[in-house]
């Protein structure tokens, strides 16, 4: 396999692993096993675990941004709806939203923190300037995204018949439940 293809393959695997276990909780060997390569190769291709995570994070936000831009193009009406759907669709890519969420908790890290702030600020800018959202609209949109991240990260849908959880899920993810349920890893995956 070419080096570029291998890089992309490892990035995809690493997204799933970092998304499931977080930055500190994931090991380079987890990533290597998921990508079906040896652990030293992962380290050598990316230099270090930290640089690998940064590459994963940048790629994840780039996918998010390009999804949003595709939704922005087109008629003004229902633009917010299209963007919401674009966000939901990203749930299908294993770990992508979770990687972003987990990076957002690493603000105190001297290396990852500044990168995460820059990316977050960039998404805000995209919403305000490219999507044309007003300040409150942008805030509400982002807030809803964070809530969706939380529900997905919690695997809330795997709960055994808790009526509160069911209502929560239905209220927060209207008419997207089917897509989500089928694409979210179970509680047992990767642990």
């Amino acid at each position: 396999m070419s080096s570029a293809d291998r890089r992309e393959s490892i990035l995809r695997a690493a997204t799933a692993v970092f998304g499931a276990k977080g930055y500190a909780g994931a090991t380079t060997d987890d990533v290597a096993k998921a990508a079906e390569v040896s652990q030293p190769y992962v380290v050598r291709l990316f230099g270090s675990k930290q640089q690998l995570f940064l590459a994963v994070l940048e790629r994840a936000v780039a996918r998010l941004s390009s999804g949003f831009r595709a939704a922005i193009a087109g008629p003004d009406e229902a633009r917010a709806d299209r963007m919401g759907r674009a966000y939901i669709e990203l749930v299908a890519e294993r770990g992508l939203l979770q990687v972003i969420s987990s990076a957002f908790l690493l603000g105190g890290d001297p290396v990852i923190g500044p990168v995460a702030r820059r990316l977050f600020s960039g998404v805000w800018q995209l919403l305000r300037e490219e999507a044309g959202f007003g300040p409150d609209e942008a805030r509400d949109f982002m807030a809803n995204g964070m809530l969706i991240n939380t529900i997905v990260g919690l695997r809330m849908m795997n709960d055994e018949g808790d009526p509160s959880a069911d209502e929560l899920f239905a209220v927060c993810l209207p008419e997207s439940a089917d897509l989500l349920i089928s694409s979210i890893p179970g509680t047992d995956d990767d642990w």
Copy 2:
């Protein structure tokens, strides 16, 4: 110091440490140093790092719930405002909201996941049944909370003169900025 006092002191220290570094990223020695005791003592008092984290998490959500209940008591009008303020005030307790956020990303963990789901579902129930929020109101309230967690976790206010970040901060945390800025740890703390 009595065992009970020592337990509480360690729980407070552990909240700050787990909040700053996450479950996997924090070490029992970090907690011990923050609490000014020896590392074996931390482990012995709580049995294991995992049980310590669970104790920290339960305590954090208990504080959140009691803050909400205090805000619920009293007149119906402005109840939501009082609850929002109660949430913001919890930012002052180092790491408390971050611990909750980070637990919400551990849904895949076979031990922590179920506990986190139960606690999250409990908060939803509190909003719906005790606070009397409608489904949409409860969702919006939670979503805003998650966004606040994100902004705090990112240390967004420490950014050096990014106008997007400033706007984001102002829009998401109206009239609470002063309280927040003074009580959030800097980027350099504990890393």
